[in-house]
Symmetry: C2
Subunit: 196 residues, 2 copies
């Protein structure tokens, strides 16, 4: 890798590579997207990649950290700026947005979760971001019960995994809507067995 100073143009290119890689990795998986495809999406040729990243693995690490830290920062801000109920709605609703899931701009946990569990690298940064997301969710729970935040996150992640897996668009949407209804009881008060 060439080791040169940072430069406006260089930084912009690097950011474009990161953005496109983030989108493509979430859509087709780390192993399903080559360096070639990432660079092409960024409007470049594959050879230039190594002027920005030491290896594909380094790109994967960077993408994972960036996306998770961004998600954590977002949830953290929301959970501090709003009251419990509204904060939860502002976290859950966009998370379960069907368009976002389809476009590959959703949370990295459902789409890259299994990939990251395997390409295990920089797991420390991943763990820190995960802890932050849990802390933000806990702030949204009645009584700040962490256990309930863990379950909420599980439901969110599982719903997106299953929505992506479902061939039938109706079933796909049903998973997302069911999760939203269950996690935001204010919208639909039918949910009976919510443990206090």
């Amino acid at each position: 890798m060439r080791t040169t100073e940072a430069t406006p143009r260089r930084d912009a290119t690097r950011q474009r590579i990161l953005d496109e890689a983030g989108r493509l990795f979430r859509q087709d998986g780390v192993d399903g997207v080559g360096v070639d495809a990432v660079m092409k999406a960024a409007g470049l040729t594959h050879g230039g990649f190594y002027a920005h990243f030491a290896s594909k693995q380094a790109l994967v690490d960077q993408v994972a950290c960036t996306l998770l830290q961004r998600a954590e920062a977002n949830w953290d801000a929301i959970s501090r700026q709003h009251d419990r109920t509204q904060a939860l709605a502002r976290i859950v609703t966009p998370y379960l947005d069907a368009d976002r899931v389809a476009a590959g701009t959703c949370c990295p946990l459902p789409t890259l979760g299994t990939d990251l569990a395997r390409h295990a690298s920089s797991r420390q940064a991943i763990g820190a971001a995960l802890d932050g997301m849990i802390a933000a969710l806990t702030r949204c729970m009645p009584g700040r019960r962490r256990q309930r935040a863990l379950t909420t996150l599980s439901t969110l992640v599982g719903a997106v995994v299953l929505a992506r897996l479902s061939d039938d668009p109706a079933l796909s949407k049903a998973f997302l809507d069911a999760a939203a209804d269950s996690l935001l009881p204010a919208v639909k008060p039918a949910s009976s067995a919510a443990p206090p």
Copy 2:
């Protein structure tokens, strides 16, 4: 691929390949496990693979269908042989078993979900098995509410995804336990359930 009759010995070998592939694919992902590794795990050399399967893709399809249909049949039987509450416990408890998750013998949805969404093939069979699993879960819900079954499945899948992603064993177990507590509100006893 050689096209010969079925034979006891042939069938046993084929089954061994399927079993090992199922375990390895769930542990390390479809792209993380080569034909070589699968055959080695089955006590054979890689060359013989194509006497049993037309291609690696064919093996992936077969493994996915087999595992999902087995899970569906298991849930279906449980949901018909027990009352609602106990059936749910017999489904949820082994699903969230930490040892099973670690050993790669858990449900294929969390581990292969994203893989299958990408290697999209035989999605029809996958969809059918998924429908069956939802139907079985619905039978366990008060009022047989399908929406609640969808959420339950999301929570189960998400908890396993997150447990596998977590570096910290304590956090990993916390995801599984939180989901179990949330999905089995009344019952506390750890009923030893039958294997799939």
